[in-house]
Symmetry: C2
């Protein structure tokens, strides 16, 4: 199994430090080879969707790839939804998918399938290692592709992994590419004005990038917004209050109705999440001119600070006001939830937000909280929040991670709690229990079905029977408590933030 | 949304009676249309892998398709592993995958992906409905393809579903095909002898088919076996003791080393599940002649009873001996487990077996139990057992379903318990808790890695922390108890079999 060992040694040399694994028989030699790669931390996940979501959280925080180790087509399938989110986020990840031995594929054994067909829609790079000789060259390519463009998938037949053939050494990686292009900055500066939208996105929005956008907006009257579901935003200082484009397409379109120029800074052109009968699908007016100053996925800090200098946007911005320290002590509605989070968030926390309807106000309220990073559901594939938090905590062991998680979404990948307990991760999982797929009720009305049909009423309901998230957490080894008032929520949050290791707080939403 | 209503009306006319659903925004109009299709029972699942596994269990028992309702590429991905198992079983299923509106796909919204690429490896039939006009023709084709060949996938853009255009009526379905071919029966009868393997498979092995195979073996000296992972076997009377080809390739190859003729009756040619260094991948000797008397997936009862008549195999077979009524009362090892199951299984039960290592002896021991159906993991994609049991119970509400489930596998789709509680299904979930991915320890040794590496030791371990399956069950609304002796296991099984609704028994395996 020299080939498997060489692969891991190369990955370690290239800075890979974690492997989120749910292996099977076809990955045995890679598992065995982990012993010879002490710099790579193996993290066991009970379900592949936890492994891929954790790799996404890790990659967003480290800006460097982790490995995932998945078992053939079905294992990849189980991890596919969170790879979709990572693909949309362009997160660096290298997924190793075990495959049958090259000579066994022709026998069409029960677990055989067309792995590449399954992987292609979520892979920025995709190859199958057909021999040990080419293994290191492909591994190097995969790592480089992951860094540059997002999830890379390397399909690894078992006999290639167990081969004792010495793989060919890869060429040294190309010099890091320059990732910005200043050709359009002058033009962007000239176009800024009250009818201009400056839309921010990319793999990471730094505090400087957000502050520059805020200053540009204050100086020129332009509308500066972050894309609806950003990969990662650092919220600290002058830029912490920068708002996001609303999710509901009718609200987004209304807020952009005056726009005649769209400047895209690392964001994609804004479109509706879903088409609905009679509603807009592109969100800015059709006549609007579009200027892209950085392609999606690129770091835009330099572009924005340069443009801010060009327009002399050196205004001192006020810091967002303090959150009320003691929010309304009664029943927990979305506003009380948001205030409780903002009031208690510890310094330098990481928030993984899959809170959907109940968490509607959390992002804006947290503008006044201590400095933090905010990560969102980039690809709309629910079941991401708990795995994302797990991976972020592996990446940043000294920071507190807060998972804001809707009840329905939590149940897709609830197994993440076990990995948090096993690894002693400092994650506070806040489950927002409203006993429903509430977002679907809303979407049904938006779809023009005004009366909730009987079948729909039943299919959106999670109360029969009620789900006891505290019991589920304890089953996976995570301490848990249920709260029904904002005062108790604040106390529970403070307790968890002060206690090492994971906790789950089940919040009964009014 | 006449189109969605017409689709469901056609499905109901064609005998579809259940829809296993985990819908999202793109499926809203189909959900709303369910109200106008009262013959189709909507069954909500918390995770798509539960929906697809349940549709598999339903289809195996009903020999007729259920619908699944899944949400775009990520929802399909979540359901992919159990669709893989169903594809290998050739189970009739019609999966409806919601897609973005046809005119919105060009905008590449966050949830967009190449659904067909993901679906193709698990679909016996695959189409996208590009207009309401063709919707019913495609629906009819999908149902017919599901009946004939296995899982059919119909990708359904939202605007096609919500259209009020009147779809074109489909042509009446073709007359049911004759599903057998007697051309080889005489030849098969001539080839039967002590060096002949008669290997049975297909969508359903009836009691008559199994008994005919047993009689043929007794008369001719041939080796009659069922394929390693059969779709569904009826175990009743003279054929109940018919054995399966062993899983471990070295055992299977040894038991077939004398064979010079392989007669395939609904089974595929026997191959190893995985290739391992230096081990065989095809299980019969290379020189063996192969005769196929029924293609995989076909019902073979008529072929086998005809061949039995040709060789005058009208021997009276003894019934398998009674199981010990009171197995060893001490700690539960795999043999005590098997005996406890065999002694208590109620008449006409359905066993869904994903018991892996700890359940090794259950199948053979149950040969002497009351008549029952046995369903196995056809495609090797774990996480199937609890969903399969859920679907079988929807299909057969008057029968007791027993899920024999390994601990590691159970955790992939543990959310199935909630659907069992919600629908009041008579499922006894027996979780075999050995605190490990025990099968992987075995596979690692078979892979030639003789010492368990440190990383592997950790990655195969489920004890840190220990998982409390009773707490998980209660979290999902299913009553649960833990047993540590065979006497308590027998009592718990009897209690559950006598109590309507679901239960979970956590069996601590020695």
């Amino acid at each position: 199994m020299k080939a498997a060992q060489s692969l891991l040694a190369l990955a370690a040399r290239e800075g890979v430090r974690a492997c989120f694994a749910n292996p099977g028989t076809s990955e045995m030699h890679l598992v065995a080879a982990l012993d010879s790669a002490p710099d790579i931390r193996p993290v066991l996940c009970l379900f592949e969707g936890v492994a891929t979501g954790a790799a996404d959280g890790y990659g967003r925080m480290m800006q460097a790839p982790a490995l995932t180790l998945l078992h053939l087509g079905p294992g990849l399938g189980n991890g596919l939804a969170n790879l979709h989110n990572a693909y949309r986020a362009r997160t660096p990840i290298v997924s190793l998918i075990g495959e049958h031995a090259t000579y066994h594929r022709v026998n069409n054994p029960p677990l055989a399938s067309d792995i590449a067909s399954i992987a292609r829609p979520v892979s920025a790079w995709l190859k199958t290692a057909e021999s040990a000789a080419e293994l290191l060259i492909l591994t190097q390519d995969a790592i480089e592709a992951a860094r540059q463009t997002g999830p890379a998938t390397l399909i690894l037949p078992a006999d290639v992994a167990w081969s004792d053939e010495e793989p060919t050494a890869p060429a040294p990686p190309l010099k890091q590419r320059e990732s910005f292009d200043d050709g359009h900055w002058d033009e962007a500066a000239r176009l800024l004005g009250p009818r201009t939208l400056l839309l921010l996105g990319g793999r990471f929005l730094s505090a400087n990038a957000c502050a520059a956008a805020q200053r540009i907006a204050a100086k020129t009257g332009a509308l500066a917004l972050i894309e609806t579901f950003p990969v990662r935003v650092r919220r600290e200082g002058a830029g912490a209050g920068l708002k996001r484009l609303p999710y509901l397409s009718e609200m987004a379109a209304a807020s952009l109705s005056h726009i005649d120029t769209v400047i895209l800074a690392g964001a994609a052109y804004p479109v509706a999440f879903f088409a609905l009968p009679g509603r807009p699908t592109t969100l800015a007016p059709d006549h609007a001119r579009i200027l892209e100053i950085a392609a999606p996925g690129f770091n835009i800090e330099r572009a924005l600070t340069s443009i801010a200098a060009l327009v002399q946007a050196n205004i001192d911005l006020p810091r967002a006001g303090e959150a009320p320290v003691n929010p309304n002590g009664g029943a927990i509605d979305p506003m009380a939830l948001a205030q409780s989070i903002a009031a208690t968030l510890p310094d330098n926390a990481i928030v993984c937000d899959e809170s959907n309807t109940a968490g509607l106000f959390c992002y804006e309220a947290a503008a006044s909280a201590a400095a933090h990073d905010w990560l969102t559901l980039t690809g709309g594939a629910i079941g991401q929040g708990l795995p994302l938090a797990t991976g972020a905590a592996i990446a940043c062991p000294d920071r507190r991670v807060l998972a804001l998680e809707a009840d329905g979404s939590a149940l897709y990948t609830i197994q993440a709690l076990w990995t948090q307990a096993r690894e002693g991760l400092h994650v506070t999982n806040v489950i927002l229990n409203n006993g429903a797929y509430a977002i679907l009720r809303l979407e049904m009305m938006r779809a023009g079905v005004n009366e909730l049909s009987e079948a729909a009423g039943a299919l959106f309901d999670l109360k029969h029977p009620a789900i006891d998230f505290c019991a589920l957490a304890r089953g996976f080894g995570v301490p848990a408590e249920r709260v029904e008032t904002a005062a108790k929520l604040v106390a529970a949050l403070e307790r968890s933030f002060a206690t090492p290791g994971p906790a789950l707080i089940e919040v009964m939403i009014r």
